[in-house]
């Protein structure tokens, strides 16, 4: 009986063992053997947000056609990432880390330094040196801004952005409040306090808190910081300045805005805080002034935007950012999104052809109009459809004199610390001065004592 049972057991065990071996061999044989070079090339391109993706879908066939006419068989597979910026950045970062990165990707300029420092991006310096457009047409300010700490270039601008204060001039006029350029922070606060007194609603938005992610820093905090006499980074010592009079002034100003009731605090604590503020309260006229960029004319409040405003150009106008002292108001000007090539790409030359095409002429002009951006090069003002958008060309004219902040290694940690510190202020847990101390401690903890200094 025992030997019969053993025979019965042996057969299925043998079958199972053979099956497993066959499966393993089959899997090995069907593994992608990859191409040996030469012949058609398929590039992968990762982007997100509907207007950007739709434009690529429409125009990439033109690129493929242009390449064919040059005798190059290059096709592009478009990959669409999550719509929200934070989630898209997470996905792209994980892709770079896992070795599954697309050949070409587009992301916010502020991410370039981290990706470049991590070794994820292809060094484009030799390519840009050979590309006459780079020196001849791209704005010098933007070219310089994109040079990374190692002196190399890893990204090419997709667009340029001007960020300033957008305000509802119709609401101010009907309230009898001046629409003249506010010169100082106090001037701005006084006017917005009057508005809030009239309406009972928060009237001014400088993004703050953790929910807004990088937007708290790049759409809020930095535009106040640039209006002080302090700097965030000491280039000579290569150290972040985590405590300074300017930092304290900025956080104290957030405190003043909160105490005056002009800041919309509750929405800032929620996921997607831009929705109840920029997409609901501003179109409604409850929120009267907010920081925003060139994209807001089209992406946010344009006819096909997230929250269209009828009669946009009659109702909305812009101010430059006031400063603490009241001298020299300014706008922020920088690359918006950039193009980058993965360091692991198997087709660097073809990928560079794609990036050059995307950073030139027709595509760039259409991209600027699709997302609401200024051109980062000076030779598109006569290229349709960009040539029809005077307000974008006006924004482009402001680039040479605009202020900006160059992202450096550790910027992500400063951004994190600023988000946490501003959240302490707007929730009333800390005063501006206490939050400044908190920011110094937190930034030191995140960056390391060797990388920070105080003033």
């Amino acid at each position: 009986m025992a030997s019969t049972s053993k025979r019965y057991l042996r057969r299925p065990a043998l079958t199972l063992a053979v099956t497993l071996v066959v499966m393993a061999v089959t899997a090995a044989c069907t593994a992608d053997s990859g191409g040996d070079g030469g012949g058609p090339v398929e590039l992968t391109l990762l982007d997100h947000q509907e207007p950007r993706v739709e434009l690529l879908k429409k125009l990439l066939p033109q690129f493929e056609q242009d390449m064919k006419e040059q005798g190059k068989e290059i096709s592009v597979k478009l990959l669409e990432g999550p719509a929200e910026d934070t989630q898209f950045t997470t996905k792209l970062t994980l892709d770079y880390n896992s070795g599954n990165a697309p050949d070409v990707a587009s992301f916010g300029n502020s991410g370039a330094v981290d990706f470049a420092t991590s070794g994820f991006l292809l060094d484009l310096t030799p390519m840009t040196e050979e590309w006459t457009d780079w020196d001849d047409h791209f704005y010098e300010q933007l070219r310089k801004e994109l040079v990374q700490p190692d002196g190399k270039i890893y990204v090419v601008p997709r667009e340029a952005q001007i960020v300033q204060l957008f305000y509802r001039k119709d609401v101010l006029q009907s309230d009898g409040i001046s629409t003249a350029q506010p010169q100082s922070w106090d001037d701005l606060l006084d006017r917005m306090t009057q508005v809030t007194r009239e309406s009972g609603e928060p009237s001014l938005l400088f993004p703050a808190g953790e929910a807004w992610g990088g937007g708290t820093f790049f759409e809020g905090f930095i535009h106040l910081m640039l209006g002080t006499d302090s700097s965030l980074y000491d280039a000579e010592e290569s150290k972040w300045i985590v405590a300074s009079p300017g930092l304290t002034d900025v956080l104290t100003y957030y405190e003043a805005l909160t105490e005056a009731g002009v800041m919309p605090v509750d929405p800032l604590l929620n996921p997607e805080p831009w929705v109840p503020t920029k997409y609901e309260a501003f179109p409604k006229g409850d929120l009267v002034a907010t920081t925003c960029g060139t994209w807001c004319w089209i992406f946010d409040w344009g006819p096909n935007g997230a929250a269209p405003i009828d009669g946009l150009f009659k109702k909305v106008s812009t101010w430059e950012f006031p400063t603490k002292s009241g001298e020299d108001t300014f706008v922020w000007g920088s690359s918006g999104w950039v193009w980058a090539i993965s360091a692991d790409t198997e087709n660097p030359e073809e990928a560079w052809e794609l990036v050059k095409w995307l950073a030139s002429g027709d595509f760039m002009a259409q991209n600027a109009v699709a997302v609401g951006a200024a051109s980062p090069r000076d030779d598109l003002r006569n290229v349709k459809p960009y040539s029809d958008y005077d307000f974008l060309i006006d924004a482009e004219r402001q680039l040479p004199k605009a202020r900006s902040f160059v992202s450096l290694p550790g910027t992500d940690k400063i951004v994190q610390a600023v988000g946490e510190a501003t959240e302490q202020v707007i929730t009333g847990r800390m005063s501006g001065e206490e939050a400044a101390e908190f920011l110094a401690e937190r930034a030191t903890e995140l960056l390391g004592e060797d990388n920070v200094k105080t003033l």
Binding site: A13, L16, T93, N97, D114, G119, D412, T427
Partner: protein
Amino acid sequence: MRRVDGWRDTLTVMAFLAPALILIGLFLVWPALWALYQSFTNKALTGLTAMNPSFVGIDNYTRLLADGDFFASLLRTVAFVFFSAIVGQTLFAFLIAYLMANRPGWKLRAVPVFAVIFVLPLAVPETVAALTWASMVNGTESGFINRIIGVLGAGPIQWLQDYAMETVTIVNIWRGLSFAMVLFIAALEGLPRDVLEAAMVDGASAWQQLRWVTIPILRPQILTFLMLTTITTFGIFGLVYFLTRGGPGNATEIVGIYIYKQAFQFFEIGYGSAAGVLLLAILLGLGTYYVRLMRDQV
């Protein structure tokens, strides 16, 4: 059952167990060991430590144990587990199962209809459930819940702003009811009828039957469910993330969201792994405690 005898039998047994063991090893054991290793490094997803992480010993753990935000998220999680899993899911599911199960002297009509209604949460993927609820508890007048209370004359309530933790607790109770209910119904309908009938004959009231007969007999199943729901709720992420992202502020930042933020928003893999390992240790401790309770019962 025949004993495994000899190397051929052993090989056969291992051959059949191999696929499952390989999968468990690859997708459970290996990631846990890898996370443990990462927790002793300063590995990040960007920056210099992305390319060249270094061993930092217990620095991540030291930092974690000094991090007020981590402990705050842990406390929130404990409260969330207690109210949604232990009290909410277990009690409500037991009550519903008790009403729906066939027992001597009790048979509810239209049980299939109720069964479909209560099993529905199980059929819906977690993300879909979260987004559906987010729409229902929308703080504007057009939110489904606000429309209902609007009919009663109450104003729109910002559920995810003013009652965020309460809302996610209710959503998690709803989500976990189905599984609990199915488990308890099966257990209740498997009760020995003669014991229940004897209790009825002896004049025990419904409450006395429940308290002194039913619950003691079902204690192993109740403890099993408590263990499962405690562990799964402790580690919950998707449901809360898609509802509130841990907000407003960090009002609903449970430990799963805290770990996600550290690892995938701030890209600090080493630090996030340390938090994950600590969570794993807590859950192992809880699991061991429950197993001991069940063993004592036996």
